[in-house]
Symmetry: C2
Subunit: 322 residues, 2 copies
């Protein structure tokens, strides 16, 4: 399936969401405008805005409410990504700090806050206090997920339950809010909103597991980043946790985490071991289970084009390559 | 006047705002709890919550709405302060970065985001969309003010108009929102809300000018930070801008900004020149003018205890020593 047609009946309205970003990019300060253009640049899949709009198809599909909601969710996501750059830098650049990184940090903090501000403004424009609260609580879950990840870095004893809880906060909460927020903003019946929230949560977990799998087996050229970056930062994702259950995987990962030099070679060793074992297929099975739950969550919703598009999205999330 | 009695009729309700912070500090992660305790620790003047509560005295003084508002405004303020640490680090620690600073940065970003999330949640609880929008727009102004300050660092050509615009965004916007937000949350008449916004803006400008004066002439022990920190970071505040208008001041500041070493001695020279000239009294006169405007802004409001307390606060802001 092509990304261009991923969002079925709301596909064309994604353009309106992009137009909101174009407005935000029009700031006086040239360096800021350039950086906003970079972080908000087209090319992303815009899956969160797509989910918000699709959630809205189950009620009164009012673009005046749904476009600001969809845009605010993507802005919130982008803000946390930008701030993650600073947070991850601390883990990966230990002892190799440069003035340039410090400057980057300052810019990242400001750009992230700027995006938070616009996200809050857009969500307030919808005029629905319930959506605002949903939004605030989601931000809290994302941040708490980040905090948990940071404190847990380099701790090999983290278990799979912790992992699922963490990605529930870090990724799935915003997927859930996109779907539920769209339904609420459109005044959809309450059971629909709950079902869509459930769908979004499970889809988000599946999405993140696939993301974590791709970090081990994805094509670096397609991904645009080197393989094994999570492991290099000391973060144990699902494939690594499964690999830790076997002696060879545990030894390789423990060596990598304990090393002060020669880390690139140790990473390659660990990657080779993880790829050759059953950690990746086991992870894929877990992702499929969450995708199944997503499909079931909305099973009783009307059989609309929006519904069918959500089901197709679920299948796409499992087989995506980037 | 003692700080303890600064807030007149709402003085005792500040305790309820502190209780909100105590709730937020109760998080599972111990390092996070400790850091929250540090940044939200008692001892602050809590002027912004005080203003929000005082604004509420001009309508239906409902603590269920005003306490979350007051707390959310202080949280927003604290979040931006915490993020400022990262932003300022880039300016002052050029080329002297350490891994420790990078770690601090990551923590600062996360704590700030965590506080933003709680601020958004509290403001949403008030159930008033107008307050939420006010809040979002204020965050935008604060962030834009920060961005402007960062881009303008080390640029001696910045003029006084730019300075006033900058502190209008960075400080006065939140003072204005505290006062106006309190009035709106309490359902006060529209002209009252507007007058209180005007009061808050002018008080905020006066407050920030006094803050900037204290950075030059304040008692370091009382302030808890070294004198001249703004200048050391390359930020030209009002006293420095006035000093730049005279040859000796301009030469001293230009030397300091251009120096790569011996900066401590050059700072002392610049401080001595600025303190001996008329830059400080001229700045104080500008602060007094804004304080006068604050008093005038609410002149036609009912002569209540809340009103008298706001007038006393205005006098306090001008003569405070820390």
């Amino acid at each position: 399936m092509k990304v261009q047609t991923l969002y079925g009946p709301v596909q064309e309205d994604i353009v309106l969401v992009e137009a909101q970003f174009d407005l935000i990019k029009q700031v006086e300060l040239v360096p800021l405008a350039q950086m906003l253009d970079h972080v908000l640049g087209a090319g992303g899949k815009r899956i969160r805005p797509g989910l918000a709009l699709l959630g809205g198809t189950f009620g009164d599909y009012d673009l005046d409410k749904l476009v600001p909601l969809a845009a605010s969710i993507e802005l919130l996501h982008t803000a946390t990504l930008v701030h993650d750059d600073v947070i991850d830098a601390a883990a990966t650049r230990r002892g190799r700090a440069t003035a340039n990184h410090l400057y980057d940090n300052a810019v990242s903090v400001m750009i992230g806050d700027f995006l938070f501000a616009h996200a809050a403004d857009l969500v307030a424009r919808i005029g629905n206090v319930r959506v605002v609260r949903l939004f605030a609580r989601t931000l809290m879950k994302i941040v708490t997920g980040e905090l948990d990840q940071d404190v847990g870095a380099f701790d090999a004893s983290k278990q799979i339950g912790d992992y699922l809880k963490r990605i529930g906060g870090k990724t799935a909460s915003l997927f859930a809010t996109a779907c539920e927020g769209g339904a609420i903003a459109a005044g959809a019946p309450e059971p629909y909103a709950e079902a869509l929230r459930d769908y979004g949560h499970n889809l988000g977990v599946a999405f993140q597991i696939v993301d974590d799998i791709l970090d081990f087996v994805g094509d670096e050229a397609v991904m645009g980043k080197p393989a094994g970056s999570d492991l290099m930062q000391g973060t144990l994702t699902l494939p690594a946790l499964f690999a830790m259950e076997e002696a060879a995987g545990k030894a390789a990962i423990t060596r990598l985490f304990g090393a002060r030099r020669n880390k690139a070679a140790l990473l390659e060793e660990a990657l080779a071991i993880i790829r050759s074992g059953d950690a990746v297929p086991r992870s894929q099975t877990v992702a499929e289970e969450y995708a199944r739950r997503a499909t079931l969550a909305i099973e009783s919703l009307p059989d609309t084009e929006g519904h069918r598009t959500l089901d197709e999205l679920t299948r796409y999330v499992l087989m995506r390559e980037s």
